[in-house]
């Protein structure tokens, strides 16, 4: 699960919106302006119309601070970050832009810092443009905000030709799966059969998916199937942890060869009285999706947990298109949440 870019207006497409000027005066410059980076020179592929420069002062500093989501995952050391910026300058001049982010505790103490750039004239081969700089790592536990600073410096002349574009800070975490027995490794335990007769099948059983065909990388020994009923259905309801902010719902779903037996999944958010607050679904994988190859493909969706949700009920439906065997298959069903907002 990933956050959107936590840097507001990281590409300066809306001027300096989101950035506070701490020192100097930045310029927002359109690619292709005479004497500046162009749309086709070194720079981000999706560079948009604009980038930022240092203006006409020796030093310009921009800052923005973002509240970090996923405090539980951060404090558990299970949230990672990707910090990226495109930084550059003009020809053989050594003006530059330096990008940094600090991960700050609740009291504002830095628990970690990443410094990207500045990109020197030598780095650019004395070519006008911007180069990508990036660093990844674990968000330090205890971090609550990220303070990003862009420093543009001038080596000489009038114009501060440090340039920056496409500044990005994205967090990633793997939410803990709330479901019991998500991959049929313990038979049907944890699941309630609501209709028909779901089956537990070992990979490699003759006429079924194999250990090496399309399916989860860590698929274990078993997967779920629809049995011999035209329609089989199994459910599992689990309480949501307090403060659940975002969910990620996924499963491997599949079928047999060119047959269109399918499995599909839904997750229903329930309030404390058991009333539905919304349903999200994972679409069935058709024979066409599978290229008529026996196996399972991943389906996933993510979003915000509805306010007031206390329980999620996951349902898997196996549907037979024809014949005797219900060859809808499912494995690695996961429903995870992260706490602390999005």
């Amino acid at each position: 699960m990933q956050t959107p870019n936590l840097i507001a207006n990281g590409g300066f497409e809306t001027g300096l919106t989101g950035w506070s000027t701490i020192e100097g005066a930045a310029a927002v410059i359109a690619y292709g302006t005479a004497g500046y980076p162009t749309q086709t020179g070194p720079g981000p592929a999706d560079r948009g119309a604009n980038f930022a420069g240092g203006g006409n002062v020796a030093r310009t500093r921009l800052r923005q601070q973002a509240t970090l989501p996923w405090t539980a995952q951060i404090d558990a050391g299970s949230a990672t970050f990707d910090f990226t910026g495109w930084l550059g300058g003009y020809a053989d001049q050594d003006d530059g832009a330096r990008l940094s982010v600090e991960f700050l505790s609740a009291t504002g103490l830095p628990l970690g810092v990443c410094v990207l750039g500045p990109v020197t004239a030598a780095d650019r081969g004395s070519t006008t443009g911007l180069l990508r700089r990036a660093q990844s790592g674990v968000v330090p536990p205890g971090s609550r905000t990220a303070r990003t600073v862009l420093l543009f410096t001038r080596d000489g002349g009038t114009s501060n030709d440090g340039y920056a574009d496409s500044v990005s800070l994205v967090l990633t975490t793997q939410p803990t799966n709330l479901l019991t027995n998500p991959g049929a490794e313990a038979g049907l335990s944890g699941w309630t059969v609501a209709e028909g007769g779901p089956a537990v099948i070992a990979y490699g059983t003759a006429g079924y998916p194999t250990q090496t065909g399309p399916g989860p990388a860590n698929r274990g020994a078993n997967f779920f199937g629809g049995g011999t009923s035209a329609r089989s259905r199994m459910t599992q309801a689990v309480p949501l942890p307090g403060g659940a902010g975002q969910y990620e719902f996924g499963a491997y779903l599949g079928g047999y060869a060119d047959q269109n037996d399918t499995a599909s999944c839904t997750a229903t958010f329930l309030d404390s009285a058991g009333g539905s607050l919304g349903v999200v679904g994972l679409a069935a994988v058709t024979a066409a999706d599978r290229g008529n190859v026996t196996g399972l493909l991943r389906r996933a969706t993510a979003g915000a947990v509805p306010a007031g949700a206390r329980t999620v009920r996951v349902e898997v439906v196996f549907t037979r298109a024809g014949g005797t065997s219900n060859d809808g298959y499912a494995d690695a069903i996961s429903f995870g949440v992260v706490t602390g907002g999005s």
């Binding site: 050594d94 530059g96 330096r98 830095p110 410094v115 790592g137």
Partner: protein
């Protein structure tokens, strides 16, 4: 027999064997670097707390605790997970039996696994002990002290500066660590030297290893563990004579590496709304009861180039802040922690000795000293480093006007190890400096050491502590001379008991 650092390095240089002697040379693996560092006398505390512990910036109810996990201190990459939990505790006794504050913090690879913890909820004006634990190991126990509040009858503190590792050993730090009556230590900068002919630091890894090497001196670790520090920096903490305002990308990258390396190895409390690593705001004010205000200056990060008509050594924000500190000063002593020479220093042959000093920013100095004069209090002292020699001098708002009043005293301390001019230069130029600078009272450049300050509501005393031999870590330390400033009367005078001590200039 282990050679002293200076002899070993000189011998290695002569033999063209720098890389064997200097562990920071590129291409030297950790094992070889350790061996080379050991030959220089380096040793470390048991892993993972190899570089020791420290405390800094004490306030009345809190103190900053510092350590860094570096199991392999000279390696580019530490054999640690990206995140390591570090537990800390503060106790009222050295046995750590009565714990009054504790907690846990994540040491991240993003800050070199350094730890900066603010221990809060402490009592003013009392000693505490602290310890870290991580990876099943405990650090040594450090000792610290919180600042008092209200009426305070005495503060004793010391200053250190210019401790070039290659130039000598640190016997003065043994003296300071053993001084249990000391309240704190201030460091005036040039904590490290970027290197010179022996190898030069450019990258974050370079600076990390350089700091780790310095912390390989057990006497430096001991003094950190014994007392809280208030630190500032000077040029060699990045490189010689740099100006923080320079804008070349190559410089900005190097400075960021040096600043981050410095922060990772120092017990510095960050504060203010304009501080952001890797460029911490380090100018700050600290109060020791009603007796003393330390005004810690940053004379590197925000300065312009020297000798400009509108040049600044402070930068606009720090200057405004300093003016405010001058205007808001309380009834006690105000002491500037001033890394480089404040007073004017005319060269014997004309011009100025060094315009990298405040002499390169004369208009700003005159403006500020005018504010000091207008603030009206005579109890103004600056504690200065950088020059590698000791000076005592009157501070005047206009150094070229013999009629200008004396408004304070500047004490420039000997360096811990960094080499001074030769004895013959000092003998020749001491009197010439005195003649060219009427505000100069005293100059001594043949010795190394530190200053200890004893401050009461009635008198400021500066004791010049010197080491007998800077190449011997066990060298004796003694007081060369002492100077006093009486409260309410600007201007220093030498203690009659030590007035006959060696010096290359005394004002008659």
């Amino acid at each position: 027999m282990r050679l002293d650092r200076r002899t070993l390095l000189r011998a290695a240089a002569g033999a063209g064997a720098m890389s064997a002697a200097w562990p920071l040379m590129q291409g030297l693996g950790p094992q070889a670097a350790h061996a080379a560092a050991a030959a220089l006398g380096a040793s470390w505390d048991p892993a993972p707390f190899t570089v020791g512990v420290g405390s800094g910036d004490p306030l009345p109810t809190s103190v900053l605790l510092w350590t860094r996990l570096a199991p392999d201190p000279l390696a580019d990459t530490q054999p640690l997970a990206d995140i390591v939990q570090v537990d800390w505790a503060v106790a009222t006794d050295a046995a750590m039996s009565t714990v009054v504050a504790s907690g846990s913090v994540a040491a991240s690879v993003l800050l070199g696994h350094s730890v900066h913890v603010v221990a809060e909820g402490l009592q003013p004006g009392r000693r505490y002990y602290y310890r870290f634990t991580a990876l099943g190991k405990a650090s040594r126990v450090g000792r610290t002290k919180t600042a008092p509040v209200g009426p305070t009858s005495l503060v004793r503190f010391a200053s250190l500066n210019c401790q070039d590792y290659r130039a000598g050993e640190y016997p003065g730090m043994r003296d300071l660590a053993a001084d249990s009556a000391l309240d704190f230590v201030v460091h005036l900068g040039d904590y490290i030297y970027e290197g010179s002919e022996l190898g030069t630091a450019y990258t974050l890894n370079d600076y990390r290893k350089l700091h780790a090497l310095y912390k390989g001196d057990p006497l430096l670790r001991d003094v950190h563990a014994a007392h809280p520090f208030y630190l500032t920096w000077d040029d060699h903490d990045v490189f010689n004579d740099y100006s923080g305002s320079r804008g070349a990308a190559t410089f900005v990258a190097r400075r960021a590496a040096a600043y981050q390396g410095w922060y990772e190895h120092m017990p510095l409390r960050l504060e203010g709304d304009d501080t952001a690593l890797p460029d911490p705001r380090i100018y700050r004010s600290r109060q020791w009861g009603d007796l003393l205000e330390l005004v810690v200056l940053d004379l590197r990060q925000h300065r312009s180039e020297q000798n400009l008509a509108d040049g600044t050594i402070l930068g606009a924000k720090q200057k405004a802040w300093l003016k405010d500190r001058i205007a808001q000063r309380g009834g006690g002593w105000q002491c500037w922690i001033n890394s480089i020479f404040l007073s004017q220093q005319r060269a014997p042959g004309g011009g100025f000795m060094f315009t990298d000093q405040w002499d390169g920013f004369r208009a700003e100095r005159a403006e500020l000293l005018g504010h000091v004069q207008n603030a009206g209090g005579p109890d103004f002292v600056t504690v200065t480093g950088d020059w590698h020699s000791a000076f005592v001098q009157d501070i005047r708002p206009d150094f070229d006007n013999a009629g200008a009043p004396v408004i304070g005293t500047e004490f420039v301390a000997h360096s811990a190890t960094s080499s001074a001019y030769s004895a013959s230069w000092n003998a020749t130029n001491g009197p010439l400096l005195g003649a060219a600078n009427p505000h100069l009272q005293y100059f001594e450049g043949n010795r190394y050491g530190h200053d200890v300050y004893e401050v009461t509501p009635q008198r400021w005393t500066t004791r010049l502590r010197v080491v007998a031999n800077r190449t011997d870590p066990a060298s004796a330390v003694s007081t060369l001379t002492s100077w006093h400033v009486d409260r309410g009367r600007a201007g220093a005078y030498e203690d009659p008991a030590t007035k006959g001590s060696a010096a290359q200039y005394r004002r008659g």
